[in-house]
Symmetry: C2
Amino acid sequence: MAFRFEIIQEQLSSKARLGRVETDHGSLSTPAFLPVGTQGTVKSVTPEELAEIGVEAILGNTYHLYLRPGHETIRKLGGLHAFIHWERPILTDSGGYQIFSLADHRKISEEGVSFHSHLDGSLHFLSPEVAMQIQRSLGSDIAVVLDECIPYPSPYEYAKASTSLTTRWAMRCLRGKEENDPAFFAVVQGGMYRDLREESAQSLVELGFQGYAIGGLSVGEPKSMMLDVLEWTTPFLPRNAPRYLMGVGTPEDILRGVMLGIDLFDCVLPTRNARNGMLFTSSGKVSIKQAQYAEDGAPVDEACGCYTCRHYSRAYLRHLYLAKEILSSRLNTIHNLYYYTHFLKKIRDAIQEDRLLDFYKTHTRSNGFEKECPAQHQVTCG
Amino acid sequence: MAFRFEIIQEQLSSKARLGRVETDHGSLSTPAFLPVGTQGTVKSVTPEELAEIGVEAILGNTYHLYLRPGHETIRKLGGLHAFIHWERPILTDSGGYQIFSLADHRKISEEGVSFHSHLDGSLHFLSPEVAMQIQRSLGSDIAVVLDECIPYPSPYEYAKASTSLTTRWAMRCLRGKEENDPAFFAVVQGGMYRDLREESAQSLVELGFQGYAIGGLSVGEPKSMMLDVLEWTTPFLPRNAPRYLMGVGTPEDILRGVMLGIDLFDCVLPTRNARNGMLFTSSGKVSIKQAQYAEDGAPVDEACGCYTCRHYSRAYLRHLYLAKEILSSRLNTIHNLYYYTHFLKKIRDAIQEDRLLDFYKTHTRSNGFEKECPAQHQVTCG
């Protein structure tokens, strides 16, 4: 499958880049945020709604789709795009992250990882080759190689051995690459150790992938540590390949990630929070269930142009949430994804106009997360 | 508020009528089916989706909206139409049906009915006047007077006393009618007793309402008994007022109701069944969770033009249902409401072209409910 990444503009005042990823299913502007479609749907919304919001690409979870309905079923039905009626780019993860979260229900070896399904306890085996085969069957545009996500904290020796295994697995994936395969993204690991992160990045770049994910972050480490790891890692990644920060994060995490040279993000935060009644707005977070909104006829965010804000009041959204109505999840999800998508759009505009630091300052002031900024990142954080 | 009912065409071979209801929020063609929006939303779908399906009017439940978010809140926010972003006609029930379902948690008197909220146990009192006041606050286009829904079976004496109470309550509602009020529909009761039904209909017609609901049906009685009651009742209702069969029913019930002179229907069946994975199709019901659909790439109904059938396979709908995805409820609801709405459209076309009996015969053959037809209704049932 075709895959191309082009850098349109680079910032002088930070490592941020404006770019464009092209695939057989269309292109996406970077930096980009990909909503998570765990089980073949971004929970509660349709592809048409995603497109209207401005979403250009989504993520699918290989682990979940492999277990149910099964990648072979999806392949027979024309691939994931046709199955879920989403014609734009899809990035799939390797399934590794979910399997390593199974804790006692999985066993890792040089060959791969055996695990018990969370659905029915059945035994399965995932190797680097199988992970790619599944993603091939799904017809992903971007496939991620199998890696071991190192828990935090982990001793140096464990992190070193694991990082080296991840590199060997990446090599095996590459060796099995077939014509017309998706783009392969490797995953930089190395725990919270600078030398291991550098080593991991260098070895993977030497093997040569179409993109590089940065894994093992947002696993419970302090926020400043995540920024440290990004600062250590991105200089070792090639300029002309997209960099993908897996599972991150808040709008602020994303903005800092962009300033450290990240191009792609995914996270369940906007969609999961939506279902829990937590809404992102231009003036901070709103918990819609609060009594103060009971008779509030204003939209969630006066500055927002989403379907929800154009037609519904806070009072109605509060009512739907308290009444446990399905429409609550829908309207909240539309709003939060619009917020994220347009937040990324604003970031891209700011890069293009070379005013990302100003954007960062304004955004931090209006959202009150300035004081969270760790001391050692004052330069990055403006 | 303006309210007008016009009969466009009457059938010679049955009591079916083609008509049009006009309200301040637009008109609807009858016979019509109104989806139920219990708590200020037809579960899982947006007003735009309802409009696209062809829905012209919906029902709101006074009991639920009174308890949460409260009719005064809705009034302050501009009425139910504005609150829920539905600009077309809304019919509200009186709340009586839900209250009488509370069994041990309500107490009836000449004055009205006191009951404990199913939400928090708090004590409330609903009189005929309060029921109208609530519906006035909601800004309904069509309001239903408070009645007592007689359980099945009930002794004659109980049914007689209750029916008479319902008539006195209807009179009180009428006495309190204000300028610019919604259209008031009275409710014919009388249990399963012919003389009481006749008496109920005659007394209410004498009082004079803008429409007549037929209540106390679909409460556990045999289907043939419901048809009997309709046959007894409709001859006593004025030709030029709409007749509304509350809480009914299956497509077959609706078709038979139309042939007995009913104009309006509402029921949770298409929406509730949708959420339970039961889909109506031109060749009968489909339980989408069945294993036979696991790799079935066909739409639910090849003959259906709904959004769901245009874009998704049975296999995908089965997957969404088994994965308990919110999108499952949405796509199934869209399909079932489309089925109902277009079923009513076909009925109207058949009345217009004076071929309703043929339509009935064809429909019963393709859906296999012919043998259900009770012997005493062979003429009606074709």
